[in-house]
């Protein structure tokens, strides 16, 4: 794996972690880790091109997250969609690898997201260290949840945490996309398509039509 995050990123992360401590100790009320400044080496790998072999899709660009970032991303993806009953956790369905694939892609949208995600992962570990002395992935589930609770709900973002919240929103969007693209995700959400049908399209099931009748009546509408 190519490590494209350079020394300066690591230093910025350390600085962020260190600067947070005395501030909290001073009890200014503005406790929290500053949003780290990251300087990333631009991704220069080529994309898949305008005429890729669609029957044999390949990701041609090298992955760029560091081992530490990948660990933090994995822990966060599993907070976003943990295992639940028969539903596998995000990391079991390759979601962290997808995040890595995404931030490493040589396209403008993905490169913009990369800045947010690399900085966000650094913030996550620094904030976790500030609170518990451990990086996010090594902290307890309760400690992880406490951080997520500050940044995961749009109506109650902790003051001053707008950037971490935007990072969380992006990670959630990518996690949902990757998770529900899998066979297990289709089963979880109930997507039953991509299945060729012989003969006419059958349309809604009797159960779906009964539900439709009920909602139409409930809104005082005339049946179609």
């Amino acid at each position: 794996m190519t490590v494209a995050v350079d020394r300066r990123t690591t230093l910025a992360w350390l600085a962020a972690a260190l600067s947070a401590l005395p501030e909290a100790a001073r009890g200014t009320g503005l406790e929290g880790t500053q949003w780290p400044t990251v300087t990333l080496k631009p991704v220069t790998a080529p994309g898949y091109g305008v005429d890729p072999d669609m029957s044999d899709p390949k990701v041609p660009w090298p992955l760029t997250l560091t081992a530490a970032e990948r660990k933090a991303a994995t822990a966060l993806c599993d907070m976003i969609l943990p295992a639940d009953g028969t539903a596998p956790a995000a990391s079991k369905l390759g979601v962290p690898a997808f995040v890595d694939e995404w931030v490493s892609a040589p396209y403008p949208n993905q490169q913009r997201d990369r800045k947010t995600i690399v900085a966000g992962l650094a913030w996550l570990d620094a904030e976790s260290r500030r609170r518990s002395g451990k990086v996010f992935a090594a902290s307890s589930m309760t400690q992880r949840a406490a951080i997520c609770d500050d940044i995961a709900f749009k109506d109650r973002i902790k003051p001053g945490h707008e950037k971490p919240a935007a990072f969380f929103t992006l990670m959630r969007r990518l996690t949902l996309r990757a998770y529900f693209s899998t066979a297990e995700g289709w089963e979880q959400i109930g997507y039953l398509g991509n299945t060729p049908i012989d003969g006419p399209y059958p349309g809604p099931t009797p159960e779906a039509l009964a539900h439709l009748d009920k909602i139409i009546a409930g809104l005082g509408l005339a049946a179609a």
């Binding site: 305008v50 005429d51 899709p57 990757a178 039953l192």
Partner: protein
């Protein structure tokens, strides 16, 4: 290399070019089809391939604007080495396909006939110009086109939405639950929701199979259900042994003989850069609205500076696209509803046709032309589930509950030609072959802005009737309007007319200035009805080719 010579040289392999070639080869003419892009086998279409296997889960990138699996190869909003310019203040997007079959490989297949008002808009409201043909003249050509293409839909007897001939249409697919819900909600406001018309088979036609109700049509349709020229017109024309296809042939100029008639075209082999020529008794340009205008504007005519076939000064003018804007809404009534396979024919089963012709005629609306709604929703393959809050078990439950509860509303409206919107040759910019590039000018007017405001208000009313909530409040019309060209319905740069002083071609697409030079694509549109243009491009090309075949037979060409 010896210069090839044919009865007809057709430039372009999309809707117009392929239809012209199909008609002419059936009439016994020898045809050379020149396509700027690469050869394309519809078997390449990644039907049923999993989004999860594609890079970035298939999302659009600058390499593949409409997603990894979109049928368009070697094309899109930008083609490396083939730039175009925009005048200051203009935002215009120009979608080009560089492949056999052109844009027919990935289009939405929406196929609405233009109606009597649409061919005579000036007569109705005093704006723009009338077409030199009427709906009544076009009706049999629409029937013939729909029969070959295969279009599903029905005949609901709506004003300015003509019925098709008996037995022409294929049965429309059964409506999905969310479409029936929309019909009930819109019905409360007396807004019709009726079966859409799409060029998708629901019964077999020739070797083509009916739809199997899976796989996005935009990926291309290897089974031939969703119409594209690469599974129908082109192989059928080839089967006559009268068609020669040359791909990677970038036409840039019409060759004129001493008498000023078209003798053929010059093109560049995109692979080698070599200059080539092809000769024909008749030349049909169907390279797309932009490229056709570019070829004519780039053709030098002795003693003239305005290009070929431009004595009217209308070449490049009257550039129009469809009015586009989008809203989406979430409906609590649709949350957590029973699951079933809602892929259907992937695109529209139902839509909202324009329903306010009488009010418009009575002066009750502040815009002169029509629009329709295209709608999307249902249990689609999950992609961007954005908008959900929180994390963990609660997030999973919200995702499951919200799935299939959103409907997207899109306006497709008629733009009236205006003096601000045209294309011309850029004075300096050239492509990698040295061919002078186009420069676009584009602007909307109060007509289109008022239409978008009306769409916004109507959508809000429908959503309210259905107990839903817009996901975002509407923006101002100026902000909401999509860019010129973005709907990929650009037409009008070589309009047909009854008067050679104000139009580029006659009612058959024959250039007024050159007797054996025809235009067979969207460039000839005199107006841009809100109805999606591809079906009309094909019907016009068929009629034009019939006219050409008759003239070839009579020895006039």
């Amino acid at each position: 290399m010896a210069v090839e010579s044919y009865d007809a040289v057709v430039v372009g392999s999309g809707a117009g070019g392929a239809m012209a070639a199909w008609m002419l080869t059936r009439a016994g003419a020898s045809v050379l089809m020149l396509e700027a892009g690469r050869d394309y086998d519809p078997a390449e279409a990644p039907m049923l391939n999993f989004t999860r296997d594609a890079p970035l889960r298939g999302v659009g990138t600058p390499d593949k604007d409409f997603g990894y699996y979109d049928a368009t190869v070697d094309g899109g909003w930008d083609i490396p080495g083939e730039p175009y310019a925009m005048a200051e203040g203009t935002e215009f997007k120009w979608w080009r396909s560089r492949m056999l079959g052109g844009r027919t490989n990935h289009w939405a297949r929406n196929s609405f006939r233009m109606g009597p008002y649409d061919f005579k808009p000036f007569t109705r409201d005093g704006l723009g110009v009338d077409w030199p043909v009427s709906y009544e003249e076009m009706a049999p050509w629409y029937d013939k086109t729909e029969t070959i293409v295969g279009v599903y839909g029905n005949n609901p007897n709506l004003e300015n939405h003509p019925n098709s001939g008996d037995g022409v249409l294929h049965d429309p697919p059964t409506p999905r639950a969310w479409e029936l819900f929309l019909k009930a909600g819109a019905g409360k406001l007396n807004i019709p929701v009726v079966p859409a018309r799409r060029a998708v088979l629901t019964r077999p036609v020739d070797e083509r199979s009916p739809c199997y109700y899976a796989s996005e049509c935009g990926r291309g349709c290897a089974i031939g259900a969703a119409f594209q020229t690469t599974t129908s017109l082109i192989p059928q024309a080839r089967a006559t042994k009268k068609l020669t296809v040359r791909t990677d042939a970038m036409v840039h100029e019409v060759i004129l003989d001493r008498a000023g008639k078209a003798a053929g075209v010059r093109f560049i082999d995109r692979k080698t850069g070599a200059q080539r020529e092809a000769r024909g008794r008749v030349v049909i340009l169907a390279a797309s609205t932009g490229e056709t205008a570019r070829i004519l504007l780039n053709t030098k005519v002795a003693g003239r500076s305005e290009g070929l076939a431009n004595s009217s000064g209308q070449l490049g003018r009257n550039l129009m696209d469809t009015v586009g804007a989008d809203l989406s809404a979430t409906f609590p009534a649709l949350e957590g509803r029973p699951r079933y396979n809602e892929d259907g024919a992937m695109g529209l089963h139902m839509y909202i046709p324009f329903w306010l012709y009488k009010e418009q005629k009575a002066g009750k609306l502040n815009f002169a032309r029509g629009y329709h709604f295209e709608v999307g929703g249902g249990f689609n393959e999950p992609g961007d589930l954005g908008g959900l809050d929180g994390y963990g078990a609660g997030l999973r439950a919200r995702a499951q509950r919200a799935y299939g509860s959103t409907i997207g509303f899109t306006i497709r409206g008629e733009m009236i030609p205006n003096a601000k919107s045209y294309c011309e040759i850029d004075p300096v910019l050239k492509d990698r072959f040295g061919i002078p590039a186009l420069r676009f000018h584009f602007g909307w007017t109060d007509q289109e802005r008022a239409m978008v405001d009306h769409f916004h208000k109507t959508t809000q009313d429908i959503v309210t009737a259905m107990g839903g909530k817009l996901n975002k409040p509407p923006e101002t019309a100026d902000r909401a309007l999509r860019k010129g060209g973005e709907i990929i319905h650009e037409v009008g740069t070589a309009r047909m007319g009854a008067d050679r002083r104000t139009s580029v071609t006659d009612p058959y697409g024959r250039c007024w200035d050159v007797d054996n030079l025809y235009i067979g694509d969207g460039a000839v549109f005199a107006s841009k009805a809100h109805k999606n243009p591809t079906l009309t491009i094909m019907a016009l090309a068929m009629r034009s080719a019939d006219h050409i075949a008759t003239r070839l037979r009579k020895g006039e060409l």
